[in-house]
């Protein structure tokens, strides 16, 4: 094929107007830059291609500058950000491949399909690299329970996540769920997938080599989600409810076939490069593969399997139809590869070849031949990078616990908090997810981190998703630091050694300096924690413009982390069992009530600075707890987070169906600050009597606070002289809220 000039008039019938450029989300400056790059006016197809490549979603133009500040390396990292997903070494030739991604806007418009396709998309990112997906997680933020849309959104999103993951047969083992009025118009649906591969059989997207066949596999292309990538980069306005753009519908059955077919092909030596078609489908997959391989691509759209009649090049290049992949194969293997895909009833088509032209040349006979002819490298890396103006968030003053309302009774307050939307059990959600399929889920949802066994071994992979949006809202820097640290702590509480994280950075409109300031603050806080904890970011995703009518969501940098334990039999869980164990809190109790759940639920207030993380103390406490778990010195472990100490103990009691008698607090703090404060860096341990002294000694030697707070036993939770609360009553409050709320339709 020659570098044919494009007859624009013929293709479009009209020249590119400023309105058309604006509709494609390009600024005048950006359009001028485009003109400079290609040296002529683009065709409409070319304009479409540029617009998606330069969308915020694909180009990271507002975030890229800051993302570079995140540490991404370490001896455990095999592949950091830049590929479809991150790769971490698990030893013995095993690798974990994982990533988290947002599907916020589509899930608001059509919760079931939006969430389902979010799960499908993130799984493709993982198996495209050669991993069998082994666990899914989901981090969900909904609006206030009182908002008229919330119930419908919860119901659809949860059903969609389950509908997709269950069908594929990958367990959804955990996640997080928040309710907050600030998400009323912009819910967040972040899906994470973890896969397992062999370190010597990992697949990348660089299409190295000329004259190689470019192959399309999976489902046919339809007019699905055209402009999804630009939509993910735009603010919602008043008519979003009306507009309802073409949403993608997921087909998990086809994805299951695609997983199996791809893994079957990957067991051979036929693939040179492979990439899923995600946002901006055929466009971004071909540009990225060609660019990374330093080659050109000739694509013949006549060959693309099509679901609908009369599709244009523009539509095919921008379609976001699901369950599709692009591969570059070793020449001569086409037939053998095709047989595999036919066996699995999937489309297989050779749609082009790699060239030495360095150009993406797209042809479509019904539109007169070549419809796009663009320089690959420029398409890939000349996207603008903006250093947008930002202002630092001023954190609120620290709240004195003495200024916070005292509860009528500690245990009454506890029951009220445990039965609130913030702390109630998420069982109604996770029971709709198959969390046991693959028969390796050793720690199911409900504890700190979930754990799946590395199939065929005793090794365990711990997985957790964390961020506390009310902290990040008040202080993005401390909140970002806390999110990374809480994830590390949750993994540690199972006995796993934290290895690495993925992130999903959900923020408002970056063109507003205060939002950009939140972004910068969160990144800086995350970076500090990451480097101190040796917990690098290996993959991630940024979702900006989460605003409705100028109201931004709280900054929500969701962190998804994984950790490793060499023997699942050594892991700890949160359940109290038996009686007579001593409960010991490791870490300092300072009664921090600012931004706490207590403040919100009992004092109905939202003031103060969030708790601060002391990274040096975190490391000391975490390492000690992990070594106690490995040594078998503790019967149960739970980290202290939302709701504070008493909530952590109540969760442990409910998990094991064993009560506890707690000592009356006799220190300087108000009792409610002691029991409900959200100081960081703490763990509750249930310790058999004979190990208590040695653990206290060990803590003393490390200068770590360790305090005996009670002992296990019985079927209620009591604080010495008061009568106590029956576990059954607490359970009713804790388990009841969500199903009761969802029942009213």
């Amino acid at each position: 094929m020659t570098e044919a000039a494009i007859d624009i008039e013929k293709e479009t019938g009209s020249a590119i107007t400023p309105e058309l450029v604006a509709e494609h989300g390009l600024t005048t400056d950006e359009y001028d830059r485009l003109l400079e790059i290609i040296g002529r006016e683009p065709s409409v197809t070319e304009l479409g291609i540029f617009s998606v490549m330069w969308s915020e979603h694909c180009s990271y133009k507002s975030s890229r500058f800051w993302l570079k500040k995140l540490p991404t390396t370490g001896p455990q990292v095999i592949c950091g950000p830049g590929e479809n997903a991150g790769v971490v070494d698990l030893g013995d030739g095993d690798a974990a491949i994982f990533k988290m991604e947002s599907h916020n806007h589509p899930s608001y418009i059509e919760p079931y399909q939006g969430a389902a396709t979010g799960v499908g998309g993130i799984m493709r990112d993982v198996f495209t690299m050669g991993a069998r997906p082994i666990a899914n997680m989901n981090a969900l933020r909904f609006g206030s329970p009182d908002h008229p849309k919330t119930r419908h959104l919860v119901s659809g999103v949860v059903a969609g996540i389950g509908g997709y993951g269950n069908c594929i047969g990958v367990p959804t083992v955990g996640g997080e769920t928040n309710f907050d009025a600030r998400y009323n118009g912009n819910i967040l649906v972040n899906a994470m997938c973890v896969g397992l591969a062999k370190t010597d059989n990992i697949f990348y997207s660089a299409a190295k080599g000329v004259g190689l066949p470019v192959v399309y596999v999976g489902s046919k292309t339809g007019r699905d989600g055209i402009h999804g990538a630009t939509m993910a980069s735009a603010e919602f306005d008043d008519d979003t409810d009306e507009k309802r753009p073409t949403v993608q519908v997921g087909d998990p059955f086809t994805e299951k076939l695609l997983v199996e077919a791809c893994l079957e092909l990957m067991a051979t030596d036929m693939i040179i490069a492979i990439q899923d078609m995600g946002a901006a489908g055929l466009t971004s997959s071909s540009v990225e593969m060609a660019d990374k391989g330093g080659v050109g691509f000739n694509l013949d759209l006549d060959k693309v399997p099509q679901r609908e009649a009369n599709m244009t090049a523009y539509e095919m290049m921008l379609s976001e139809s699901q369950e599709r992949m692009l591969m570059v194969l070793r020449p001569g293997t086409e037939q053998a590869a095709e047989e595999i895909f036919r066996k699995w009833d999937l489309d297989f088509a050779i749609v082009g070849e790699t060239t030495d032209s360095g150009r993406l040349i797209v042809s479509h006979s019904s539109e007169g031949g070549v419809v796009a002819d663009l320089p690959v490298a420029k398409l890939a890396d000349s996207a603008p990078v903006y250093e947008r103006p930002w202002v630092k968030t001023t954190p609120p003053e620290t709240l004195d616990p003495k200024d916070v309302k005292t509860p009528d009774s500690l245990l009454g307050a506890l029951a009220q908090m445990m039965g609130s939307p913030h702390l109630c059990s998420r069982r109604w959600i996770w029971e709709q997810y198959d969390h046991m399929v693959m028969a390796d889920t050793v720690a199911r949802p409900g504890g700190d981190a979930a754990m799946v066994r590395v199939h065929g071994t005793n090794k365990g992979l711990a997985i957790s998703c964390d961020v506390t949006p009310r902290y990040t809202q008040a202080d993005p820097y401390e909140g970002g630091k806390q999110a990374v640290t809480e994830c590390w702590r949750n993994l540690t509480a199972t006995g796993a050694k934290p290895l690495a994280i993925t992130d999903c950075l959900n923020f408002g409109n970056p063109e507003r300096p205060e939002i950009m300031g939140q972004f910068v603050g969160a990144i800086e806080g995350m970076a500090e924690a990451i480097s101190a904890l040796d917990f690098p970011v290996v993959s991630g995703n940024v979702s900006l413009y989460n605003e409705t009518q100028g109201e931004a969501i709280p900054p929500t940098p969701a962190i998804g982390g994984i950790g490793l334990i060499d023997d699942v039999a050594k892991r700890a869980n949160i359940a109290l069992t038996g009686s007579g164990d001593r409960l010991i809190v490791i870490g300092a109790n300072k009664g921090h009530l600012g931004q706490s759940i207590y403040l919100d639920v009992i004092a109905e207030d939202a003031k103060g600075a969030p708790p601060r993380v002391n990274l040096a103390d975190e490391i000391k406490a975490g390492n000690m707890v992990r070594s106690l778990i490995h040594a078998g010195k503790v019967r149960a472990v739970h980290d202290v987070s939302d709701g504070g100490l008493l909530v952590a103990i109540a969760e442990m009691a409910l998990a094991g169906g064993t009560g506890a008698h707690l000592n009356v607090y006799e220190g300087d703090l108000p009792a409610h600050a002691f029991w409900f404060g959200e100081d960081q860096g703490r763990y509750v341990l249930a310790v058999p009597m004979q190990n208590v002294d040695s653990i206290l000694d060990q803590a003393r030697a490390l200068a770590l606070p360790a305090l005996k707070v009670g002992r296990t036993g019985g079927d209620k939770l009591s604080i010495e002289e008061s009568g106590g609360i029956a576990l059954s009553e607490l359970r009713e409050a804790h388990e009841g809220w969500l199903p009761n709320y969802m029942e009213i339709s």
């Binding site: 059903a159 299951k256 997810y433 046991m436 050793v442």
Partner: protein, 229 residues
């Protein structure tokens, strides 16, 4: 002992059950692709859980017509033991090898959790390791597990003692509270008239390993060892 696990497009518990079979019986099963037309000789055929054909149209409907099923049905009629778990149970009802149907859970939700089952018969090749009326813990994970049959069929199933397991409470009581999906008479699994074909919604392969939280499901695979040759 030679076992075969049929793999349909969309099966996803095929590996799980293969692991349990191998652990309990000592030999790995043959994994048989649904598109084949000839079954290898087998002492036991397992139809695994999952979402064959995406569970589209009706669960199990399309798989019941897969090429391999002609042979499976024939062998089953000739007395080769067949175990259908979850989706496999749905497929067996669609082929008519087992009575009744599995419709949408009455909550309309997919449900994944451990349930208690009461063993209703222990004189079969699948359940001889259990005590009569023993209460065992086995997980369920399904969207369509609500066992339904018309009055006559139900009377026949009950009358002939073909109920294999019922959902029950911790003490073995059969009541609405312990019925997770609305199944008639809390039925969780049924036998055919010879007792050599068993379909059940719960997943014994998921609690056959102490690391996963229990081994009550193991009895079903170990029972087979004793009786099938």
């Amino acid at each position: 002992m030679k076992t075969s696990v049929i793999v349909f497009p969309g099966s996803n518990c095929d590996r799980d059950v293969a692991v349990s079979l191998e652990q309990s019986l000592g030999t790995a099963p043959d994994m048989v692709w649904h598109g084949m037309t000839d079954m290898p000789s087998s002492d036991l055929i397992v139809l695994p859980g999952g979402f064959s054909y995406g569970d589209y149209l009706r669960c199990g409907a399309m798989a019941a017509h897969s090429p391999i099923m002609r042979d499976v049905v024939k062998m089953a009629r000739d007395g080769v033991p067949v175990l259908g778990i979850c989706n496999g149970f749905q497929i067996l009802t669609e082929t008519g090898l087992l009575p009744g149907v599995l419709i949408r859970n009455n909550s309309l939700h997919f449900i994944c959790r451990d349930v208690s089952l009461r063993v209703e018969r222990n004189d079969t090749l699948f359940a001889n390791r259990y005590e009569m009326r023993e209460v065992i813990k086995v997980p369920i994970a399904h969207h369509d597990g609500n066992y339904f049959a018309d009055d006559d069929t139900l009377a026949r199933v009950e009358g002939e003692g073909r109920v294999a397991f019922r959902y029950c409470g911790a003490e073995g009581q059969i009541d609405d509270q312990s019925n997770p999906n609305g199944s008639l008479n809390n039925i969780a699994g049924v036998y055919n008239d010879t007792g050599r074909i068993l379909g059940l919604m719960p997943h014994p392969e998921r609690l056959s390993d102490p690391a996963l939280g229990g081994i009550d499901g193991k009895g079903m695979f170990e029972s087979l060892l004793q009786t099938v040759h």
